[in-house]
């Protein structure tokens, strides 16, 4: 888990660097600071379990097992990317890993996750779906419709609300009177759980229970992970709407730093092992960047392909 978290962190830092060098077209929404959520959740999933993702989705892909090279190549718009350059940063998918794709319409992945859950139930399979979305999405109608439908049909879906306090520049308290999104679960008659989203083990434990419940056919769970994005909403955002003290407070609660300290304290990993993992992950990311940089762009006329299956 620590290694996956580090992969995401280093990957996102590299994407930020490449962006600064004008090598990334379009925009980026970095997952830096929220790594414990994707990793804590996906560590409970099997290869053929599904996830749905969002515009801030690089971390979800990596946690579910996506190839770093093809992920980086997609972000750079290359032919070797997961979507052959047609999706980009906001639309990475790896169906071979059960990663059903990222949608950039806030809240739109929720009904799709419900449909994957229904498909599992109709096929009498033992898979589950983890559906990632932010606290902003919980104000969309799809949140209400989708969770209700999953609840009445007892579908094997785990709704993961990544509450990073801000929907773009809009602080949660300005758009809802409740503090916990998980409280909304009671409206659908399902369990709602609040966890420290910067504590990977807490996320893991909560997801473990939800996955067990889902696999037993007992229905969905809403897990709210309280977390924070270290960077702005997207590439152009200096995040001036966030008080400096608040940012510093959350940086101090960095999920990777906390997990490392715990692993050291408990004697599970030694400092030399951390250094080794850090070196290996650094090399992996460098290889991904090299692969992506050396890959060709798609031929322009490939824009006309794949409209229909």
């Amino acid at each position: 888990m620590f290694r996956k978290m580090l992969e995401i962190r280093f990957f996102e830092e590299k994407v930020f660097d490449l962006y600064a060098q004008n090598l990334v077209p379009g925009t980026i929404h970095l997952y830096t600071g929220e790594e414990a959520v994707a990793v804590g959740v996906c560590s409970n999933l099997r290869k053929n379990d599904y996830i749905t993702s969002t515009h801030r989705g690089h971390g979800h892909c990596i946690a579910k097992g996506a190839d770093l090279k093809r992920t980086m190549a997609e972000i750079l718009g290359k032919k070797t990317g997961y979507c052959k350059g047609k999706g980009g940063s906001m639309h990475i998918a790896d169906f071979s890993m059960g990663m059903l794709g990222a949608t950039a319409v806030v809240g739109a992945g929720i009904p799709i996750a419900v449909g994957a859950g229904l498909s599992i139930k109709l096929r009498k399979a033992s898979q589950v779906v983890a559906c990632f979305f932010g606290e902003g999405a919980s104000n969309q109608g799809t949140f209400h419709e989708g969770i209700n439908m999953a609840a009445i049909w007892k579908l094997p879906v785990i709704f993961i609300c990544e509450n990073n306090l801000y929907a773009m520049g809009t602080r949660q308290s300005r758009v809802m009177l409740i503090e916990n999104i998980a409280d909304r679960a009671s409206a659908y008659g399902i369990p709602g759980v609040v966890v420290d989203g910067n504590d990977v083990l807490a996320v893991y434990e909560a997801t473990l229970r939800a996955v067990e419940r889902a696999r037993k056919g007992e229905g969905p769970t809403l897990i709210e992970c309280k977390t924070y994005r270290h960077k702005g909403h997207s590439r152009v955002d200096p995040a001036k709407y966030r008080p400096r003290e608040e940012v510093e407070e959350w940086i101090a609660k960095d999920p990777i730093k906390r997990f490392k300290e715990k692993l050291l304290r408990d004697g599970i990993l030694a400092e030399t092992e951390f250094q080794q993992i850090t070196r290996e992950v650094t090399v992996e990311i460098e290889e991904a960047v090299r692969f992506a940089m050396e890959s060709p762009y798609p031929a322009p006329e490939e824009a006309l392909e794949d409209v229909y299956a």
Partner: protein, 324 residues
């Protein structure tokens, strides 16, 4: 040959495909055993296939379609019913941004074999929220197919093709068509997408018409025949893909074109077909193209108001007379 209604033809297609393929299932509001669908298309199917495969849903159009998308990309072949075509507006993100784009945006990794059945059309005095014809909205979204069956035969054959295909299909029905009868063979058949049908052969003028307007065009053709005008009625059967060749071939023969559709005139079905003819068949045309369509108003309630705005055989005859 036996005759059955458009409604029965649709039900037969659903039933046969559900027997043939266990991944086919239905979902929608009140389609199950308590109601059988607002227009009774799914009547009896829940009893036969069970409530798991004929799923009544909450009133959640967006999530009905989104659930269909999620099921379709994970190996199922859902057929979703939206009770009235007007209500597709509630599901437009899932239709236009998700279902239509999933194959493309993910570089061809996913297939989305989702069929969305919904009735359009005016004429039964249920006003602005239950009477529109919005087929053109879906023609404007690459990645969607749009079927517009006008007869029981086409309805059954096209629905079977839609369910077996690998792309999302807006399957546009017309509420006045449900009770009409037509010949449908007993045995297995499908109607391919992108192949127009000449519903009546003629020499002097081509009328391209869809859905209920096909029947109005056929009535108009009978009247005009008595006046010595021979009308060819071309039914595209699917708007996406559109059988441009069949339309151009007919225009080449007759030299005159009227396009009739019940949707609004501006940026609508008639606009697109007229533009294709202007772009690709202008040399064959001996007269201006005429369009018969709804005059860009919401659909009003009161019968005289409603009848005034819906195109009919008289407005088709008038358009034909203007160019012959």
């Amino acid at each position: 040959m036996r005759k059955i209604t458009y409604r029965e033809a649709l039900r037969e297609a659903l039933r046969e495909e559900m027997c043939r393929d266990s991944t086919v299932f239905l979902l929608g509001e009140d389609i199950g055993k308590y109601w059988g669908g607002a227009f009774k298309v799914t009547d009896g199917l829940a009893e036969e296939f069970g409530e798991e495969r004929v799923k009544d849903t909450p009133i959640s159009e967006s999530t009905i379609i989104g659930t269909g998308v999620g099921a379709a990309i994970t190996g199922m072949r859902p057929v979703a019913e939206i009770m009235f075509g007007d209500l597709t507006a509630l599901a437009m993100d899932q239709i236009a941004n998700q279902a239509a784009k999933i194959h493309y945006m993910f570089g061809g990794q996913a297939k989305c074999p989702l069929v969305i059945r919904t009735p359009f059309g005016a004429g039964v005095n249920i006003a602005s929220h239950h009477s529109q014809s919005l087929e053109a909205w879906f023609m404007h979204v690459p990645g969607l197919y749009v079927a517009v069956p006008s007869t029981p035969y086409d309805a059954k054959g096209l629905l079977k093709s839609a369910i077996r295909g690998n792309n999302p299909v807006m399957f546009c029905e017309h509420k006045l068509l449900y009770p009409i009868e037509g010949e449908v063979p007993d045995g297995e058949y499908t109607v391919p997408f992108g192949v127009a049908d000449i519903k009546r052969e003629g020499e002097d003028v081509t009328v391209v018409a869809t859905l209920y307007m096909v029947h109005k065009a056929l009535e108009a053709a009978k009247t005009l025949e008595r006046e010595g005008v021979s009308v060819e009625v071309v039914d595209p059967r699917t708007l996406t893909p559109l059988d441009k060749k069949a339309i151009i071939r007919s225009v080449r023969k007759t030299g005159r074109l009227v396009v009739a559709s019940e949707d609004c005139k501006t940026a609508g079905v008639t606009a697109e077909i007229a533009a294709i003819a202007a772009e690709e068949a202008i040399d064959y045309l001996d007269a201006p193209i005429k369009r018969v369509a709804e005059p860009d108003t919401p659909i009003p309630f009161s019968p005289p108001l409603e009848q005034y705005v819906i195109p009919n055989e008289k407005t088709i005859i008038k358009a034909v007379r203007e160019i012959t």
